[in-house]
């Protein structure tokens, strides 16, 4: 009996240590799992938001050869402008296919944003040049393609906004304490929002006579 009584305080002490360590470890583990899953969810949301843009971009890139083909018949002297559009389009297509493989890679999105901006610029130039060809502007097919192109661009812009919102909530979670520790441990990379390159997108080329 006496022996047991002597052991009891030691048992109680080691028991306390066991409880504290188990509860502490458990608490940390559960918090980490929770944060980890939260990050995975947000990253998947970014991917799904990108898929929305991707569908519209593909549609846009598919329309461009049609546009150029129609334009060719009217403006044989503007070979350079047309070629610039086709080149920009091809570069954008390859950037998009890289980006769709891993939409959370910051570099790929930045490249795509750049390539798409360049395409927008080249298209803008083509539109300005087209002003000199009233027949082309009145062409039925041309009008239809242009209409579809504008509509697609609006959709791209809208899904881009949804994508940027998703990226922002992912990046916020990634950078805030304590989730930033988990993000660092498991390699949750910074996601790139799709910034419009102001210069490229809004620089309407001047017409020189």
């Amino acid at each position: 009996m006496k022996n047991l009584l002597n052991i009891e305080p030691i048992l109680a002490f080691t028991g306390l240590i066991v409880v504290f360590s188990v509860v502490f470890v458990l608490f940390i583990v559960i918090v980490v799992i929770g944060i980890f899953n939260g990050l995975v969810g947000l990253r998947n949301r970014v991917k799904n938001a990108y898929a929305q843009i991707d569908v519209q971009l593909k549609r846009r890139y598919d329309l461009i050869p049609n546009l150029v083909e129609t334009a060719k018949g009217y403006m044989a002297h503007e070979k350079e402008t047309l070629e610039a559009v086709i080149n920009a389009r091809n570069q954008a297509v390859s950037a998009a296919s890289t980006a769709s493989k891993d939409p959370t890679s910051a570099g790929a999105i930045a490249d795509l944003a750049g390539a798409d901006g360049a395409l927008t610029g080249a298209l803008g130039k083509l539109m300005v040049v087209m002003e000199a060809y009233p027949d082309l502007k009145a062409n039925e097919n041309m009008m239809q393609v242009q209409e579809e192109l504008t509509s697609t661009e609006n959709r791209v812009a809208f899904s881009r906004q949804a994508y940027n919102d998703a990226v922002m909530s992912y990046n916020n979670k990634r950078e805030m304490f304590p989730s930033n520790i988990v993000a660092g441990m498991f390699g949750f990379n910074f996601a790139q929002s799709w910034e419009l390159d102001d210069e490229a997108a809004r620089d309407v080329p001047k017409v020189s006579f």
């Binding site: 047991l4 009891e8 048992l11 109680a12 028991g15 306390l16 066991v18 409880v19 188990v22 509860v23 470890v25 458990l26 608490f27 583990v29 559960i30 799992i33 929770g34 899953n37 939260g38 995975v40 969810g41 998947n44 949301r45 991917k47 799904n48 938001a49 898929a51 929305q52 991707d54 569908v55 519209q56 593909k58 549609r59 504008t150 509509s151 609006n154 959709r155 809208f158 899904s159 906004q161 949804a162 919102d165 998703a166």
Partner: protein, 618 residues
């Protein structure tokens, strides 16, 4: 059994899960406490400590997991690595599954669920969510590519049956509970695999006296971890047992319903044969463990199958003897090794009587209704940018200068141009296509970010308020859309459904009075309809609410309160609403729409055809 009884039953079943869960936790505690007791010569303190730790592990992890799943089906689908199907389907297989899901949803009066594709070559599918509004359907790539249209339709019908029988909500609870039970093993594994070795390594580096002690502690931690892992395997055992107990019968019922919805036993039968004949390793086994019971066929093989053996399912669906089926080319899952005759064998005919919800002719009519909508609008509904514009056009009165001015301020130039293109098309549509249009837009609208959804809701409200007339259709449109988008309010919707009609008579009176006033030309007719509706409920009639008190706000508030009715009581209430509007002998499209809107608010999908809330087959 009909939809309403199934919903109530599903909620009761949750109690069974809780009971099984408690039993499992007690047994696991026993497994942990007995060795601890032996080692400590039954010291009360040590035993208490061990039990508290055990309870904490299970309790906290269950709560954390359930908290995560709070956001509904989308989260589950994303957890399993699903990618949302992009609405302008890029290939034929994707278009096929999209069409089937749309037809089935319109037929059942549900918003179209978002579809998630899991890149995996095995054939599998699942449905997840709390209510029909936040439900998602997941299919594997193999499922949409290897199955033909009939087979795929059978599989999708099976998943819709899980939605309309309330199985999804049981499933989500199960995920939480099973994770909790398995957490002990996971904790043990972390102790044995990571923490112990870390202590060992750091102590071997120091090489001092303390180091030797550290090594001892490290080893003790590893042993302790392994002990927990062994206890955890008991937890895993019970987790699987609960999974199996709860989900097997539901699978038979869902198979039977799939036959009823499609009236084609060959579809689901041959899908099951394909699964049975071509066993494939699925690659999503890592996370699949907690979610086994959600899938169409078992995702991870285990001794306690969450699904009945495929041969048995085929036999029941096609109405033939199990023995007459050729043996599967390979043993399909652990389930086959079990005693097949151990199941209570209900025939399909029996299952069909039990099941209800979507009728096969509804699916055919839904297909027609979808085909009637012009392709340009359908295309627009599949994209969030233009789907918004279609919703706006539904609210616009043609030639209203005030709205015109309002819209020029609210919309960007391009949006305004597109709206102008869409408006005449939308106005040309049949009145009866208006609700299907809203339901078809659901997946696209859900793809908007939170910020975009807020802006969208704001514009809708502005449009509704612009003409100072709050029409019934406007109420239906706004409340249905808000219900579809309200992901964050899911918690409020999943609250208990246990009230009786008698306890909500005030709220019922508001809704019935409003319906009576809006449907009748004179006060007498209105009070006649009101009285008639009350007689249907079987309760004591209340005096009608004053016309001026029947505002849309009071109706909205009452319906929110009515959400907590038991489902069987909801059915009675909806029947009362119905008899209220048909008291004058005819049900207008606007009235049918209102009933649909009320059903939507109460999480009761009402098939649009016949618009009757009584959905039992006879």
């Amino acid at each position: 059994m009909n939809f309403y009884e199934h919903q109530d039953r599903a909620r009761k079943r949750t109690k069974v899960i809780v009971l099984l869960f408690i039993v499992a936790v007690i047994i696991i505690m026993g497994v942990i406490v007995v060795p601890v007791g032996l080692a400590s010569e039954w010291n009360g303190g040590a035993i208490a400590i061990a039990s508290v730790c055990c309870l904490l592990i299970v309790g906290i992890s269950t709560l954390v997991k359930l908290g995560q799943l709070n956001d509904g089906g989308r989260v589950v689908a994303e957890m399993l690595g699903g990618t949302e199907l992009q609405t302008s389907g890029r290939n034929k297989a994707e278009q096929k599954v999209k069409n089937i899901v749309e037809e089935m949803a319109i037929a059942s009066g549900m918003p179209v669920p978002s579809i998630f594709i899991i890149e995996d070559n095995s054939i599998n599918a699942f449905a997840a969510g709390w209510t029909p509004s936040d439900a998602v359907i997941g299919v594997t790539r193999g499922c949409i590519e290897q199955l033909n249209r009939d087979e795929l339709q059978g599989v999708i019908a099976h998943e819709f049956s899980h939605i309309s029988h309330g199985d999804m909500r049981i499933n989500i609870r199960l995920i939480g509970v099973i994770f909790g039970i398995m957490a002990i093993g996971i904790t043990g594994w972390i102790f044995a695999r990571y923490i112990g070795p870390i202590i060992l390594r750091s102590s071997s580096r120091s090489r001092s006296k303390e180091g030797a002690g550290g090594a001892g502690i490290g080893l003790a931690v590893i042993v302790f971890g392994l002990f927990l892992v062994i206890c955890g395997s008991v937890g895993t055992f019970f987790g699987r047992l609960i999974q199996a107990a709860v989900s097997r019968q539901r699978e038979f019922l869902a198979d039977a319903s799939a036959v009823q919805y499609t009236r084609n036993p060959n579809g689901i039968g041959s899908a099951l044969r394909k699964i049975g004949g071509i066993p494939q390793q699925s690659s999503f086994s890592k996370d699949g463990g907690q979610c086994n019971h959600m899938f169409f066929s078992q995702a991870v093989r285990s001794l306690f199958a969450s699904h009945p053996p495929t041969t048995e399912r085929v036999a029941r669906v096609e109405g033939i003897d199990v023995a007459s089926l050729p043996a599967p080319t390979r043993v399909e899952s652990g389930g086959v090794s079990e005693n097949i005759s151990g199941f209570s064998s209900t025939s399909v005919a029996q299952g069909v009587q039990e099941a209800s919800g979507i009728q096969e002719e509804y699916v055919a009519r839904a297909k027609l209704a979808i085909n009637n909508i012009s392709p340009a609008i359908k295309e627009a509904l599949h994209n969030s940018w233009s789907a918004r514009l279609v919703m706006y056009s539904l609210l616009i009165n043609k030639g209203d200068p005030k709205q015109h001015k309002l819209l020029t301020n609210l919309l960007s130039n391009q949006e305004f141009v597109e709206l102008k293109n869409l408006l005449p098309l939308v106005k040309k549509e049949d009145r009866a296509s208006r609700l299907p249009m809203i339901d078809l837009a659901a997946p696209a609208l859900k793809q908007m970010s939170n910020e975009q959804q807020v802006a969208f809701a704001k514009t809708l409200t502005t449009l509704v308020n612009s003409d100072h007339v709050y029409s019934r259709f406007e109420w239906v449109l706004v409340s249905v859309i808000k219900k579809h988008l309200a992901n964050k309010n899911v918690r409020a919707d999943s609250k208990k459904a246990n009230k009786t009609l008698a306890r909500c008579s005030k709220e019922i009176n508001v809704v019935l009075s409003a319906l009576a006033y809006s449907g009748a030309d004179s006060g007498d007719l209105a009070s006649g309809a009101h009285g008639h509706a009350w007689r249907v409920t079987g309760l004591k009639e209340m005096t009608m609410v004053q016309v001026n008190d029947c505002t849309m706000e009071s109706m909205q508030k009452s319906l929110c309160a009515l959400q907590s009715l038991r489902f069987v009581e909801k059915q009675k209430f909806l029947q009362a609403c119905e008899s209220c509007v048909e008291n004058d002998g005819n049900v207008t499209v606007a009235e049918a729409e209102t009933i649909r809107g009320i059903g939507d608010m109460l999480d009761c999908p009402i098939p649009m055809f016949g618009a009757t809330p009584n959905m039992s087959p006879q």
